[in-house]
Symmetry: D2
Subunit: 156 residues, 4 copies
Amino acid sequence: MAGHFSQTIILGNVGKDPEIRTTQGGQKVASFTLATSETWKDKQSGEQREKTEWHRVVCWNEGVTSVIERFVRKGSKVQVVGQNQTRKWTDQSGQDRYTTEVVIKRFGGDLVLCGERGGDGGSSPQQSQPRQRNSQQRSGGWDAPSGDNLDDEIPF
Amino acid sequence: MAGHFSQTIILGNVGKDPEIRTTQGGQKVASFTLATSETWKDKQSGEQREKTEWHRVVCWNEGVTSVIERFVRKGSKVQVVGQNQTRKWTDQSGQDRYTTEVVIKRFGGDLVLCGERGGDGGSSPQQSQPRQRNSQQRSGGWDAPSGDNLDDEIPF
Amino acid sequence: MAGHFSQTIILGNVGKDPEIRTTQGGQKVASFTLATSETWKDKQSGEQREKTEWHRVVCWNEGVTSVIERFVRKGSKVQVVGQNQTRKWTDQSGQDRYTTEVVIKRFGGDLVLCGERGGDGGSSPQQSQPRQRNSQQRSGGWDAPSGDNLDDEIPF
Amino acid sequence: MAGHFSQTIILGNVGKDPEIRTTQGGQKVASFTLATSETWKDKQSGEQREKTEWHRVVCWNEGVTSVIERFVRKGSKVQVVGQNQTRKWTDQSGQDRYTTEVVIKRFGGDLVLCGERGGDGGSSPQQSQPRQRNSQQRSGGWDAPSGDNLDDEIPF
DNA sequence: TTTT
DNA sequence: TTTT
């Protein structure tokens, strides 16, 4: 209702199971990463090329966080509607760093579930039943992440 | 045409005159920053609060770059349609850094001119005539930037 | 939060002063038309061509309606964010008719004021003061493409 | 690149197999309908309610039409990115009628395949192989809300 | 750095 | 880290 507008829409695949944390004030916050891939034919070499872009998503919307917690996991295809927000933090050496995230807020924020990757021998429509968190489950037949130091490899 | 989608729309005000540079391959590239502000009433204190978000925009679309060069300057209100892209670079201490930008590309990218801030005593409809680059003009009656070290203050 | 998504964004010029009406339940509803024009060069003839598309906008969001009532009028440049909705009605001969509108609803709906068309000799920053309704004012020098019989030419 | 912007994004389910026709000039054009459903709890009665909106989609983009022809069919979940366009036609009684469609054009238009509705016992990943047109297949177990007489109920 |  |  003002003179500005900011909206980011990402429809992609979730890279890892979302993290759900609770603020000191008791609010649940969800975060995960989304991958979008583009393929094109290189004009010069004629080769098929692909580039994957990773997007960090953070959700402060209570209702949407609840949906994420229940239905979103590694490999899910989802669309998020939010706003770009750049947040300042300090790294271990004391230097300022900045990270840009797509933030799903109270109004205008949204999440659309587009379904899992099918054909994986999963026995049940996982999207329609609560997911067991903290379990030993290997999500949807996929390989587990190759390690826990993933954060070191992700640029945010 | 694939299984993914990525789009960022920002309608805001341009922070400084765009930079136009030419790649070694001869391609013109434009970049500038866009500010979007939000105001809301704090529930607890009842005070009016405001937050400004800065977005870095880069344009690799030839036609759009040409429009930016001619018509966009500090203070312009424009809408850009592009895609988030995180680019890696190395800072002076040799550390990896990441910057997220809204990139206007060949297809699906767009720029909409929404007009200048009016009432500044400007004598002519600046949006409809070419802008004099490299001139001494002070854009639209605004204060000039407070210095040239602005880059140090912008988180990208 | 479901499996579907619908969003229409129109940034254009308002064709006529908005109509504000009140439902029997006391809710204010605003409606107006927005024009978007495209120009392109005809490949065959090489001539410059232009096409104007008219969009009907209806607003059921109380806050946004209030902004429309105060600040939007013929010639205003605004952006609306809403959803396509096709409504059935009966014409004078008793036949079913359908009209598609962009509906601004409670959540996710939005209106962005992009300013009036400038250069009209207007003496005051009209966007920042209440508008005089029902006055003889001619709006900002902007003319809807086709005169005053717009109703005859617009399919709604 | 001008002063206007128009974009409609619909992520929904395809109501019937798309129609592919060829213009006299030899251009292929695809058209289909997309359903988006919303559910909400009625404030007064507390009942769960649902509303389905139908959107007519037309595609003049050659590459996208080719993808539609091969991969989209009744029940597919797809996202389209296009522009609202209202077209005039004459009904049997000679009266003017208007139909609004989401048009996918050359630039900025897009189609995203989000997968079929799963759990239908289908034996193969249908999205990754050409579709058999004109076959007796019943699509993916997904039923458009209202049977096979869809044409009678859809206002286009 | 913008704008309201 | 995802997906195709």
